[in-house]
């Protein structure tokens, strides 16, 4: 089973984690000002990158904290894990 390195707990088995989808999708600053189209894009549309993808994970059966990761969606290999308030890292 793939091990995922929780930034707080270290490497743990994949079954302990829950996937949270694309990272760095901010809640709109002024939701009421959005058009229907902009709102639809915030609610329903996410990147579906083939390759390196910055995404959210939750260590749901461990420390229960959220973190972000850059993972390759073709090899499933994790390249970086980082705190949710850190900027998206530049990976080689």
């Amino acid at each position: 089973m793939q091990l995922i390195a929780c930034p707080w707990c270290g490497p743990r088995e994949e079954v302990e984690f829950t996937y949270g989808g694309q990272a760095h999708v901010p809640y709109p600053d002024d939701p009421a000002a959005l058009s229907d189209e902009q709102w639809a894009h915030y609610v329903f549309f996410r990147d579906n990158t083939k390759g390196r993808f910055a995404e959210r994970w939750n260590h749901s059966a461990g420390c229960r904290r959220w973190f972000n990761a850059v993972r390759d969606t073709t090899s499933y290999r994790f390249q970086r894990v980082y705190r949710v308030d850190d900027p998206k890292p530049v990976t080689p």
Binding site: E14, G21, E37, F45, N48, T49, K50, T74, S75
Partner: protein, 410 residues
């Protein structure tokens, strides 16, 4: 004595079922994706609309993606009118497909049971049965003793973790031989003069204003009058090139087969709550599908614990399977939409049509969507059967929310 060529004494390979042409520089219609949907669309373009200046571009080999990786379940017992419309149309086409294609597809209408394990499952199932009847779809609610009669190997005892409280039953549902289906469509399309071009990856598009003028491929540029995207899990890769955002997420979806067994399983059984769906293929292997892996993935493989969970569910429901050996597992890439319904129709480019978002259930739709998409391309207007599945429903809010409602296992 000269060295012998290995295999020289074997019989000749049978005649190919389709031509393998060099791409021309221009086509009226270019279909991107040579899987079931792309090939079916090509067939119906030729058969129903006389449009044959068509290319189907496939980056690998024909029908080597999800078409070769599904569990071949065919049914139309979806909840909402829009869904039962397209899936029931598809099922009717399945019923005449062998004759239409002139090719055996081993379509076997052995029925599907969708098990209910909780009182809420029961209520939802009965509601779906009534909705199906109103839409002219054959459906009935069956009690546990009837489940036992239809499929004796299901464990209907009351003391299991997820007891069977009943099931919906669609007798006209069934399975087919997926490769033969693809080959049948490919053969007919090729005979009609449509070029099926394998090993031809689309690497970009040429555009002029709000029209696409052609596709760039690994085998050169090809001009196109109309473009249809039938690339399933790789749809986003194409739409990213076009700068169109499409709300699908690509996930691994795994399935597996057991070794060949004597006939023990006469129908198709699906269970959402414990998350397994099972049928027995003609040769005798048990074919079982799982839910999707949670994370996005383009790797055509998934995590082992998903299989483990799926096997636990299978053995709970079918104790007789406990000693069967697993022969092979595999994964496909399914493009899942927010409302678990497909996305078909117009894009911001006026001559580009989208066909994606079929998620875990695209196989059953193969003839139906081929038929409706061909009509859409021929008339440059979404056919009423696919019109509700437009991309702009995510802006208007007219979703076709089949999550759970449709006995869809996600």
């Amino acid at each position: 004595m000269s060295p012998r060529i290995p295999g020289a004494d074997l019989p000749e390979h049978p005649d190919a079922l389709w031509r393998n042409p060099e791409p021309k520089r221009s086509y009226d219609v270019v279909i991107v994706g040579g899987g079931g949907h792309g090939l079916a669309t090509a067939h119906y373009l030729a058969k129903n609309h006389g449009i044959t200046n068509v290319a189907v571009l496939e980056k690998g080999w024909l029908a080597g993606g999800n078409m070769a990786r599904n569990t071949t379940i065919i049914r139309s017992n979806y909840l909402w009118d829009e869904s039962s419309g397209i899936y029931e149309h598809s099922l009717k086409l399945w019923e005449g497909l062998e004759e239409d294609l002139g090719y055996p597809i081993l379509f076997s209408q052995r029925g599907v049971l969708n098990l209910a394990h909780t009182l809420q499952d029961v209520r939802d199932s009965v509601r779906r049965v009534e909705a199906n009847k109103l839409n002219g779809v054959d459906a009935e609610w069956v009690e546990p003793d009837e489940v036992r009669k239809i499929c004796p190997v299901v464990n209907t005892s009351t003391d299991i973790r997820y007891p069977v409280l009943g099931a919906t039953y669609q007798p006209r549902a069934g399975i087919a031989k997926h490769d033969y289906v693809a080959w049948g469509f490919a053969r007919r399309a090729s005979e009609a003069g449509i070029d099926l071009i394998q090993d031809c990856e689309v690497t970009g598009f040429t555009t002029q204003g709000d029209r696409v003028t052609g596709v760039r491929t690994s085998r050169g540029d090809i001009a196109a009058g109309t473009v249809a995207l039938c690339a399933a899990g790789h749809t986003s890769v194409l739409t990213d090139m076009l700068g169109i955002r499409v709300p699908v997420q690509s996930h691994p979806l795994q399935a597996l087969v057991s070794e060949l067994l004597e006939p023990v399983h006469p129908t198709v059984v699906m269970s959402n709550a414990v998350h397994v769906y099972v049928s027995q293929a003609h040769k005798g292997e048990l074919v079982m599908g799982a839910g999707v892996d949670s994370y996005n993935g383009y790797g055509q493989r998934g995590a082992f614990h998903i299989i483990e969970r799926q096997m636990a569910a299978a053995v709970e429901l079918f104790p007789v399977f406990a000693r069967a050996h697993l022969l092979r597992t595999w994964g496909g890439i399914v493009d899942v939409s927010p409302d678990a319904s497909p996305i078909v129709g117009r894009t911001p480019y006026e001559n580009v049509y989208l066909n994606c978002g079929w998620g875990t259930g695209g196989f059953k739709a193969t003839p139906g969507i081929g038929w409706a998409l061909a009509h859409t391309l021929a008339h440059d207007e979404p056919h009423p059967l696919v019109a509700p599945f437009s991309l702009d429903r995510f802006v208007t809010g007219a979703l076709v929310d089949e999550h759970g409602a449709a006995a869809v296992a996600h």
